[in-house]
Symmetry: C2
Subunit: 141 residues, 2 copies
């Protein structure tokens, strides 16, 4: 889906570290990755990229519109491939599993609320923290 020239189109030279990071997001099991996640996964697969470079590249990709950054609880930034449609997140407090959802009613209510209060929305984040029911989840009874 993404090609080396996606980088050029974004005004970024197609360098080895950038291609590796992009590749990781395209082929990783987990959609939502922190800088540390990216760094460690690259190390594990033998690719060695400096941690500073990972941070720099993630920020550049965010600015270029290739990635979206989220601030879930826990302090660290998490990134995912930007693939058009906006969505919100529900995070399992037991296993960290992240599920995505979109609810049109919520989105419109937000607009309404903001307008009534005299605000013009630029962005928003809705994070639901919950317990999931996946077999893998350590919380399962």
């Amino acid at each position: 889906m993404h090609q080396p020239d996606h980088l050029k189109n974004a005004g970024l030279k197609s360098t080895l570290p950038r291609l590796k990071v992009l590749d990781l997001f395209e082929n990783s099991e987990e959609r939502h990755l922190s800088a540390e996640d990216v760094y460690k996964q690259l190390l594990t697969s033998g690719e060695d990229v400096g941690l500073a470079t990972v941070y720099r590249v993630l920020t550049q990709f965010e600015q270029a519109g290739l990635l979206v950054r989220h601030h879930f609880e826990g302090g660290k930034s998490v990134f995912e491939l930007k693939q058009g449609e906006h969505h919100d997140h529900i995070v399992c407090m037991q296993c960290g599993h992240v599920e995505e959802f979109y609810d049109a009613a919520i989105e419109t209510r937000q607009e309404k609320v903001a307008t009534e209060l005299g605000f013009a929305i630029r962005d928003h984040s809705l994070h639901i923290y919950a317990d999931c029911t996946r077999k893998k989840c350590p919380h399962r009874r």
Copy 2:
């Protein structure tokens, strides 16, 4: 409204630093304060409390249910007095002004979404980032 014995009820000794911090939240102009905010305001009013103590006390108050902690963008934690009713926040990206709101429709939709996805909600945060229209706001045209 809060008395020294609110602390005792929460299982916390009523010490000087704790009383000062609680007092600040009760009498401060701004409802939503960071640790740094609290520390500086105490210094300004002549009270001297160590920064470490401020952090410690804020966390204890959160655990005791006296304060609620929020993670707005910008990295630092922000606290406010817990006064019963849950609400969400809309933050001005220009002046930092925080407005509170509650929308029943949004709350119920969240429950619905979570249930459908097989999650049991424990908590959530909805932060709307926007431009406000207050006279004080530097963004005003």
